[in-house]
Symmetry: C2
């Protein structure tokens, strides 16, 4: 039996079963020793899977740090330290230096430090980042209760549109296209929302594999259903322009596109802070599945590394 | 300028210069928060670089954990948690299950827990392990003083001989060959020496890139020279048999061969514990370079990922 027959989530279930661990299932691992609560995570960018050699290497470095900060923040922790494990062919030294300049910029922005790492030779470039955060209050994918609101921290679908533009190899991009491409290449983890979610979120994760797929994961882990308000999903004007000019459905890009690295969380509807970039996109309900009012459950689509 | 023109150590120097960090240079990163001292490390095994698909996957899993435990122990820490980041093609599920069985066995043996990880699709299999240990007393590559002895925790060269046997594709291996192959495929990190080195070592590292190269690193970081006693380097009877039957130099295999994962440390010659697997192979001297009594400095050879 090949991995594609059971999919990524099926494989994870089998691994958890072998390891007999209760840790796996959130964006990060919450661990404790001597009264200190830490949050551990890792995420990798692989050439030709997550980026192309032609992308600016400083952006790849920035992104490699950001996707990990996104997980650390979604777990309710402040990022402290990172290790960077790079595998690479015998390429130009200047490429690697630019990549590390991006890593350094991101670390300064988020207030963490690269304290170590590893170099290996390989046919393709990959950047595997391991990050440790100090937990302010452990947030997990479970904990959502019926009656709470479902929130996201910003516009969705921009990254997917940016990727489509990149892959089209179009030259002379317009402003809205550059905006979307930058959202894909150089995402910013929502560390600005950390204090709010630590104080208010009942369940939290970041959106990396597409809103619907990640909503489904949060709902399943919390053992609840979610009623989605599609008209409330925040869409950037750049995404709407892109969709109009290319006969695409902006809402579908927002619901299925991945790599937005926005936060997705549940909390009381009465604790909304109108000064923050938070948008209610639904409500937690009893039961299971993701619904749109008046319709049946939505079939979940999103990114699966091993989809058949 | 390509990476091969400056080598692995040259590239690391440039990276450290960009990151402007004082952390990098030891086997692990020593970090502290709220009075807790932690040791962080990562090490990767990549298909066709560090192992072949034909190797038993449970051994690869064991080794991926062991090489990281080796670094954690060499830093004076007890391993607590690991994250496992695996990239893999659409292979048989049973292969991955066997690999995780090896990971699980190693974690039970060393007393640590896999608390998370990541799965990605890739053309080749790679297993990148991140490990966190709690430091009993931070050990570093610097700290050796003239007059101290230089010690290793066991026989050297076995892993390199085992690799040569594996790559020869010989069938029907004899006992000594099986022993050497197993030393390569399934090394054991010297966690049994942790208490002794925490108590006694002035500088410590593990031997992963060959004795001479790693001795040179320890000497340079400690700003000392080392007088080596080649006749005292411990050699297994299996290695001697292999060398004799294949017209190889056992001592050269021990000095240059990598992946032994024995500990290399300096300490007072008066604190030798004869009940432990510790062998004095030299003495710390003033100056720089690695010497054999009566000869000039030895030219350093060993494994470099990006050697020209």
């Amino acid at each position: 039996m090949k991995i594609s027959e059971i999919g990524e989530d099926g494989l994870i279930n089998r691994i958890v079963n072998i390891l007999k661990t209760s840790y796996i299932g959130d964006d990060t691992a919450h661990v404790s020793t001597d009264g200190l609560n830490l949050s551990l995570t890792c995420d990798i960018l692989i050439e030709n899977r997550h980026f192309l050699r032609s992308y600016p290497p400083s952006f790849i470095g920035w992104k490699a740090i950001s996707v990990n900060v996104s997980d650390i923040v979604a777990s309710g922790a402040k990022p402290l330290w990172a290790l960077v494990s790079i595998a690479l062919p015998n390429i130009e030294v200047s490429y690697i230096e630019a990549l590390y300049e991006g890593i350094k910029s991101a670390c300064e922005f988020y207030g963490l430090e690269v304290v170590g790492g590893n170099l290996s030779s390989s046919e393709l470039i990959s950047i595997d980042v391991f990050m440790v955060g100090k937990t302010k209050r452990a947030l997990r994918r479970f904990g959502a209760s019926p009656g709470e609101g479902v929130f996201v921290s910003g516009t969705l679908g921009d990254s997917k549109a940016g990727l489509e533009i990149l892959l089209s190899n179009k030259k002379d991009l317009t402003d809205f296209e550059n905006y979307l491409v930058e959202r894909h290449l150089r995402p910013t983890a929502r560390i600005d929302m950390l204090e709010h979610i630590v104080k208010n979120a009942s369940a939290c994760m970041d959106i990396s594999d597409g809103l619907l797929r990640d909503l489904d994961r949060l709902a399943k882990r919390s053992k609840v259903g979610i009623e989605l308000y599609p008209e409330s999903i925040p869409l950037s004007k750049e995404l709407k322009t892109y969709a109009r000019l290319n006969s695409k459905d902006a809402l579908e890009l927002a619901m299925i596109g991945g790599e937005d690295y926005q936060l997705l969380w549940t909390q009381s509807e009465s604790s909304v802070n109108v000064f923050l970039d938070m948008h209610q996109i639904g409500r937690v309900i009893e039961g299971e599945g993701i619904y749109i009012k008046g319709s049946g459950p939505i079939e979940i689509k999103g990114f699966d590394h091993f989809a058949p």
